[in-house]
Symmetry: D3
């Protein structure tokens, strides 16, 4: 038995009770002693179609109440291995995208300087740019596993260069990521022209379109990516719209023909052993999540990400 | 400026952030120093028609995030006057109604012995019987303001004598309440026979059927009740189904032709000056609250109840 | 104790159990011995905007499971006074409006010839024309209490003369109703021109626009209508869209600024003493009834109509 | 018969067909020849709690398809009196609140310089500040009829001075409105302190709290305001959250105890005769409008506003 | 042509009409002459997370109205082979889990002593323990095909030993089932520790985790189970949460990464030839079934279970 | 750059703005110059279970706003190759199925005589019979790719021979289609007897039951069909209920065990090279599309159909 933070057990307090923290972990009031900080970045002002992701962290936490601590498939026991706390939400400025991005970057710098691994619940995908800026400041350019329906490599949208659709072009331009260790998985949908994806491929980005993954296990692909990355620091950015809308309807820009949750689980489990220095789960939009499955899935995938963080042991 | 607990301001942290406590008050970890304890009793196993009230406390807290501390109508400033904390939920046994009622009574005895005023979020109405038992243990028989579509004076249901429909017969039989200082407000709907209401009236219960209140301000009636009660200790039990389903659809046994939220506000505001020793807000069933209004209304009425607790000053 | 049909008691069988008949009455397999036949006319092919009323009878029956037999307000005990059965739905032809209207008229002729009073659950309002034809065949022209947001006196729609918007012009032209004993209550909304209502008024129809009823009890108006009708046979056609959409959102052509359920209850209760020879409740559209209140309200208003049928005693 | 734009008739084309313009008016491609321009300002980045108002114009237009051209209550025939067109939406920058406000002001200046009266569908309430700037540029300070649950007179939110909660303080400070001809109607809810409303009253703003209007007709109050304003140019800003959430659940910051739709209709109809130079309907948030009533109500109230514009004749 | 009970044909009566029995079979009033009794056990007081399964039987019946009698894939014609009736719901005591379990067991003993095969619609999974007690009383220990996301082998929950999470440990301890002929299919999700599943495996339970079934046909596995069971009496307990929430969102404890409906159909069809002595379909929770698919799927799977009962012929 | 119609770019006008045409194409006011006409046939009076498809075209258009012009998978650029316009809805008679079918046929004859390829958004499946009549009038009997859960080969329903369930029997009898070049893909569900499908197979129809397609790519099957059809004119009729309800819940007669959206994309993309002379997408019922995925999927599949029309080039 460790003295690490533990989720409240469903046998101690009914699951519909307790704090609205991730998996009913104790609410952390400081970073001291934490190995991993789960945090919310509740924001939707970087979205181009449907909004609502400002309620993402709240809803992901609510659905996480049903998750138990032990991973029955992989045997991972994250709460026995690491001290994990929910540090609440960043105090973004909901009226200004640019100011919020500044706040996120500064907050991340503080977290990273404490030696804590940040695990973010978005919010729209625009949060990942300031996160990567802080990450690169500490680690230099990182490998990137980016699971998403969209490549998010637009140059600008309505003249703005920092939105949820331009993140990874900016990250490339600013040298935040290692281009040929950037893996974009689940891409699909329509575009403005043939060059939408090709330019990123010329930079070195490795593309795994959804249509090449249909009906396949992602175990092998995940293992290949893991080998390709090696020991480099890697960031995992997980856009819930990588999943098919049958699995995750509650998101801002859904695209049909996406991945399945079995594929998502296979992919994340295959990342075990990587030097993950941070990760995020973005674009969960509760007002459009009529079935509640989207937040439920996001909560479970975040748990699976915790299970593959460096230092997590299995039983 | 007091050093009492204060809700987090919407100008300090976006309203969609922060702990899921009532009005984003600090989560209290003990009763020490509290004047008022807000608590959840998440239970639906005492209901006869639709379930779902086990999620009532969670949802009422979620909707309470929008409430600001100062009452613009009455001038009440409860958080400047009393130290109010959210002490979380009681750890009921969701598989046993009788065991849960026992747990509630014991928990209330503990709270009351600390001198803290309990304000409960249900849960179905069966929670009020053990609450009244603990209340009467401390205060003797109390006056009762009971706002509800139903009189809840059945003798038994399926042979069970402690359910959400038998509470006030039991309370009468056990001498927990002062019969002729018991006010049942908002009664309506259909019954099994003419005697359903008449027997309770013979005990001394004072009935205010909804149909006699339509299109009327409840200010006067509330004032009259207040005068009639005088300085006696009084408990307020508020069933959200007292409201018309247009105002509060998310409840287990809705009845048409009910009260309006303006009437609810008038009634509660008229209770100012009473010696309220506890109160509850019950029967909010989130799965049926498709508009979200029910939990929003419950949160606001709970706030209004806080505003009329003894000791609250106005500005 | 009578040997009339009785609803299953909620104390004998949980309310979420039992047959999906109105109020869980026995399913009648013949008209023999019945005083009143409750029946469904599940149809939506006569509607001009939203469809869905084909599921009206099913949903009204489902929500009626919570109604108890005794009217706590008026003291009416319909099931002690009359033998009431649910005879199921008419077997309409869902692909042909004209054929369905023929089937309805023939079915009603059979019911009326058995001396049974028909109480219909629609379906869209087009069902009322064939009903009135059968009614007039037996009783001659009848008085009509028509509660509705719309006068339904168009001449034709897309060239069709028998739709949910033309019913009462046809009824007038065919002499099915007594024009100056026709009361249209709750009218509002927009029209094609000033003459939309005025022509019907010239025929003798008495109009009670919703805007003249706001914030008023309908008790007096109902009493006045009752006196004006006297002993004449009268038919009551109740369109749920007479209610404000806050009270009854689940309907095909909602109009803001409507009646309240208290007003609906006052109106129906005031009709006690009339020689009602049939009635209907139409335009409940479950796919648009997200709160469930509309079917709940319709079920309760149907119950109130049963309570004012000739022969019902009070206790 | 005029050659003004007319809505498509429901007897020419089924109501579920046709363009998604307001009331199925022709889509205007220029301002030439128009008296009134209906336009959308689809924006939600100025909101502090729930987002979603970016879909307001789309949904209001969708629900407006059921409205017919003639006002059966007042006799107004707006499309016979004025040439009214739907000019589509402003091309706001959804990633920048400040840039969007600039775009709105410039667009309004262009519309106003053409002599066309603008009628806006929001969007969150922050749109009204740039609108008033353009209005004041043309007309000087105007009278303001502001119907809302909130006074929107905060000084700043998260350091930002232009949000949906600061509009009317800015308008006062910039001299865009005549302070003592500013009427704030429907105010309620909670605040940060006693001074929240009082400061605005000291400027001269006239407050009509919802609690003073409950159960009252607004006809008289509207008439009084009309007389008080006289011939001054007046702007009408209508926040749908002025209505009780029972009537308008689909909005970002709902407050219980609000106005009813009959009151809304009475109020707007009482404004007939004023020199209205523009108006807006804001804060309709379709993702939260589960019943659809909110957009339906907004569409009807906009129609009623058209009916009281200067120059509209009655029949 | 048989004189067995037949569902009402959709060509005789529109599918939105007719009794709310399973597939619109005649409501059976006794067990006489029946081979198979379909019954509801409407209960949710044994659930630990979301409630609502008390409405499961009602909703499954409602969605079953669209099913036609002949199985186009397997050629099975159950209503030509067996006399099947819907006998309604058991009259459980909704306020007491222990009393309800007693009622279920006694009711099942009566059904089984009549030689009728019971097919249950739950209700939460706690109903299966008393069912197995009655089954074992008649048949001795039976083989068990248990399709579920969860093994339901907890020892107790909140001190209670009979809940929806402890069923199969109790069944094992009481010798109701043959341990090494117990097949748990679809297991996944998180647990309290490595031993959660291993202990049951040590008893002999055969586990088929969902993750080993992804992207596979279940035809072969089903055939293997069939051969392994041989002629033994076998009970089939089907928890709808075995399916992925994309296919069955309306359930109390959903787990991502589950089975698909094609897999469910393959599995059930492969069970043809087994000596099935009873079966159930549990954990359908209509309040969470926003799409309606869950009840629809449950109804179809129940139909498929009817198609593989002993004695059903194919055409 | 062509002068063909182009969708409004999401970078010119926010996606939540703009006309409610398919993909925000210009609203075509005539057929002149068009190669392809997208049109709505908003009708639900031919349905036997749930209605609501009258709102199909409106909702498909709304969801199409997110689609960009270029097909990232196939490289197709339909708007660079063909002049495509949205010509609005046919003015059907919503009160008469037979009259509506007449209107559809006449409208199609006019479109086809202009040399324009019609692409229809339904509406229920009964629209395809008059479409095929007009198609056959121009092209003679055509090959038919019919993707559907149901074969729609009933002889009559309630005595009516032209409904959504009889279309392809009529088409066969009237010689509108080439029987042995008719491919019915995705069939499943229950039937009235073994002959339901066999008779159509005897005519020559080629059946591809869903159960034979589970877990398979449809690329090969599509290629085979393409080769089998050769250069014949072919019509594609796409019923959204061919998809599993997990992917497309919003339809009138959902059947479990259906196709996936990846399979739908594979199938349509394999049809490239066929001489498609028209196509439709039917049975999208928005009131039942709680997640919005159904209309989203229909919009995307329609786009994919545009991408395989004759003359579309790739980049």
């Amino acid at each position: 038995m460790t003295d690490f933070n533990q989720p409240i057990s469903g046998n101690d307090l009914a699951r519909f009770s307790g704090p609205n923290t991730f998996m009913r972990l104790p609410q952390a009031t400081s970073l001291d002693g934490l190995d991993v900080a789960i945090l919310g970045v509740p924001m939707d002002i970087g979205t181009s179609w449907r909004s609502g992701t400002r309620f993402g962290p709240k809803q992901i936490r609510a659905e996480s109440a049903m998750i138990r601590p032990y991973n029955m498939t992989s045997g991972a026991a994250p709460f026995d291995s690491l001290n994990i706390g929910d540090i609440g939400d960043l105090a973004i400025n909901t009226f200004s995208l640019s100011d919020s991005l500044r706040i996120i970057q500064e907050s991340y710098s503080a977290i990273l300087s404490s030696g804590v691994t940040p695990v973010a619940m978005g919010g729209d995908h625009s949060i990942t740019l300031p996160i990567l800026r802080a990450i690169a400041e500490k680690y230099g350019p990182v490998a990137l596993v980016h699971v998403d329906a969209h490549a998010d490599v637009n140059d600008d949208m309505f003249g703005e260069r920092e939105t949820h659709g331009t993140v990874f072009r900016r990250a490339y331009e600013e040298g935040l990521i290692v281009a040929d260790k950037t893996y974009q998985i689940g891409l699909r949908g329509t575009g403005y022209g043939a060059d939408d994806f090709k330019e990123a491929q010329r930079w070195g980005f490795q593309h795994f379109p959804a249509s090449e993954l249909w009906n396949r296990s992602l175990h092998g692909m995940g293992a290949e990516i893991r080998r390709d990355i090696g020991n480099r620091p890697v960031y995992v950015s997980y856009d819930i719209d990588s999943l098919d809308p049958a699995y995750a309807p509650g998101t801002g820009t859904p695209e049909i023909g996406g991945l399945t949750t079995p594929q998502a689980l296979e992919l994340i489990r295959a990342l075990r052993g990587l030097n993950i220095v941070g990760c995020d789960m973005v674009e969960v939009s509760p007002p459009y999540d009529t079935s509640g499955n989207t937040a439920l899935t996001a909560a479970n995938l975040l748990y699976e990400l915790l299970c593959v963080l460096p230092g997590v042991t299995t039983k």
